[in-house]
């Protein structure tokens, strides 16, 4: 909390020091998410209340600052049904500092210091090249991506020269994905896979602040004759963990570890006759992946490549739609690996505005490797200028061993309400 407190002080006291005049505004929202499982046993899947708030300050001499917080409470995991499960303890609430940065912005240079999110990539609906910030995956993926990303303290410098830009990044205190804990709807089926009744996961939430733990990245982008091209490199700790089994008298405790990896990637986008074509390719070296061995759990270090091709079609009868093909390929697949060597996904996304400012959204994903399906459908109804509701469903299905089939009980119908505040 030291940095945010210092920052809050700077935000309030720094104004007369730094600026002749300044402008303050805030933004925030209140959220309520209610969901019911649609497969037996039919019971509440989510009863979440959340809030976020951010104060922004713009100084006329090119300085801006922001300080934001968020909090949510998941009442379902606090119910009797989850008593004693790790999800009740670790996935039932969250209070967090979000953006907390100062930024200098001139015509050519942008320098941002503090807690922030950096987003790379072009493709829709997934986080392929979006590798910098860790993600909070405890409530699934059916939420705003800016809420799922977890801000981290970093230094971010960007130079812009017309159609070219160069970005340098240093992450000072690396943090990691918050994965669903045992007992959570979206959790990996630890008990089934490891044949143990009680499995606990000991999280590695962050690396300590030290010079060897610093992460570095660089990204260059260019816009050339309509082709939007970016190349990036990031030396960082893998946001996904591998595990060791820790001795414990009554349960199996899996200790998370995150190893250092290097990712080099390329993204490209081009518009052709109303079609928007997006490409992404990434190569990661030194990724440690968990494997099941006779003695329990171990890890294996592999390189993996990801490529994504997406085509967004021009609007047809007010339908906006696009298709996406992605492959995540491992260099080889040792036995006991918890994922296939090649994971191929085909996705279709569709959106159509309807009467009274309503709109329909659909994301369908088919896992070609294991025949699993995921459907996310939402019907967005604005209730006022500041309140939006979203009604819909999330369906997971497929063979029991498939990525989506093994969490088919997560399938749910939901009502999501969001109240926007801005001034």
């Amino acid at each position: 909390m030291g940095f945010p407190l210092l920052f809050a002080l700077l935000l309030v006291c720094g104004q007369p020091l730094f600026a002749r005049s300044f402008k303050l505004n805030y933004e925030g929202n209140l959220k309520a998410d209610f969901a019911e499982h649609t497969r037996p046993p039919i019971n509440p899947a989510a009863e979440t209340l959340g809030a976020s708030f951010q104060q922004n300050a713009a100084y006329l001499n090119n300085w801006t600052a922001a300080l934001g917080f968020s909090a949510w409470n998941e009442f379902v995991y606090k119910s009797e049904r989850f008593s004693g499960q790790q999800a009740a303890r670790d996935d039932s609430h969250d209070v967090r500092v979000r953006n907390a940065f100062v930024q200098y912005h001139s015509n050519r240079l942008m320098l941002k210091l503090g807690n922030q999110q950096v987003v790379w990539g072009e493709a829709f609906g997934f986080f392929f090249s979006d590798i910098v910030n860790p993600k909070d995956l405890r409530n699934g993926l059916n939420h705003d991506f800016s809420d799922i990303r977890l801000q981290m303290p970093m230094t971010n410098a960007k130079f812009v020269f017309g159609n070219f830009s160069l970005q340098g990044l240093a992450v000072h205190r690396p943090q990691f994905n918050l994965l669903p804990s045992p007992g959570n709807d979206f959790a990996f089926p630890y008990q089934k896979s490891l044949a143990m009744a009680d499995v606990q996961v000991a999280r590695e939430a962050a690396k300590p602040l030290s010079l060897p733990n610093q992460e570095y990245g660089v990204r260059a982008s260019a816009l050339m004759d309509g082709l939007d091209l970016a190349l990036f490199y990031f030396n960082y700790f893998d946001r996904m963990p591998w595990y060791t089994v820790e001795p414990h008298p009554t349960s199996l405790v899996l200790q998370e570890h995150h190893s250092r990896v290097n990712t080099a990637g390329l993204t490209a986008t081009q518009e052709l006759n109303g079609f928007v074509i997006r490409l992404e390719g990434l190569r990661t070296a030194g990724r440690a992946l968990p494997v099941i061995v006779p003695s329990g759990l171990s890890s294996v270090t592999l390189d993996n490549s990801v490529y994504v091709v997406e085509i967004d079609a021009p609007a047809w009868n007010k339908f906006n739609f696009g298709v996406q093909w992605s492959q995540d390929i491992l260099a080889h697949a040792p036995s006991g690996l918890l994922r296939p060597k090649t994971d191929s996904m085909a996705s279709l996304h569709l959106q159509r505005p309807l009467l009274n400012s309503h709109s329909l959204e659909l994301l369908y994903t088919y896992d070609v490797a294991d025949f699993g399906h995921r459907i996310q459908a939402g019907y967005v109804v604005p209730l006022s200028k500041s309140v939006e509701s979203r009604l819909g469903g999330e369906i997971y299905s497929g063979p029991l061993a498939s990525q989506f089939g093994q969490i088919s009980q997560v399938s749910r119908a939901f009502v999501f309400l969001k109240y926007f505040m801005r001034h």
Binding site: Q117, K158, D228, E271, L355, S357
Partner: protein, 241 residues
């Protein structure tokens, strides 16, 4: 000798044709000036969408540089604040707060109601279209040039535009927009010409769907202000900041 006369006649016809085309292009250029100033400026656009008895209002702030670069920020309603549209010549990106990343989109995609992204972002007909004078017609009691505009490249919002420009003041009065298939998409009517940044310019556009007349959008432009923008303001890399 006959051949020489024939060549001279052909050359004369060619010159006539070239000069007619040039004057058609000049008319479009003058009408563009009445649609919006060149240079660096900002303004607001209040959009009132009507669809089968339902209506909604949105407010956008438009910042423009030399008609080549534009940044459009949505100010109202609050639930859509933070949405931004960036144009760099023929390239367009959308930024929404929930994704926090610029996403490449096309000009023809719908922004709100009957308004396509290109309707707000790209208003440079003279650069985007090759104009041909089709004749003169009376429209709303005013004698107008009727021009056929054909897209110079595939990146513009519409493939063809039929454009009516008042003969005396060179104000744009009406435009019909067509798809590649030849299908008429919508009609825009320009009105309320007021003194804006030193010149009389239109401040209201009514766009009506070609098939469903009950669907329309009215755009009212206000708060015009001359600005000093650097090109870097209109960078995709600055969009999320």
């Amino acid at each position: 000798m006959d051949m020489l006369v024939l060549v001279m006649c052909m050359a004369g016809l060619g010159w006539q044709f070239a000069s007619a085309t040039k004057s058609a292009q000049q008319i479009v250029l003058m009408a563009d000036e009445a649609r919006g100033p060149r240079g660096a400026f900002s303004m607001t656009a209040k959009v009132h969408d009507m669809q089968d008895g339902d209506s909604k209002d949105s407010v956008f702030k438009i910042s423009s540089l030399e008609k080549k670069f534009a940044l459009i920020e949505q100010l109202e309603p609050p639930r859509q604040q933070g949405r931004k549209l960036l144009m760099r010549e023929y390239d367009l990106w959308m930024f929404t707060a929930n994704i926090s990343r610029p996403t490449r989109i096309s000009f023809e995609q719908r922004l709100t109601g009957e308004v396509s992204n290109g309707d707000l972002a790209r208003t440079n007909f003279a650069e985007d279209y090759e104009a041909t004078l089709q004749g003169e017609e009376k429209l709303a009691g005013q004698l107008c040039y009727k021009l056929a505009l054909v897209a110079r490249n595939k990146n513009v919002t519409y493939r063809k535009v039929v454009y009516w420009v008042s003969k005396d003041l060179k104000f744009p009065l009406q435009a019909e927009f067509y798809a590649l298939s030849g299908k008429k998409l919508k009609t825009a009517t320009y009105s309320e010409f007021k003194l804006v940044l030193g010149k009389k310019r239109m401040t209201k556009v009514t766009i009506v769907d070609a098939l469903q007349k009950s669907r329309s959008s009215v755009l009212v432009f206000a708060k015009h202000k001359a600005e000093k923008f650097d090109e870097a303001v209109f960078s995709k890399e600055a969009l999320g900041n």
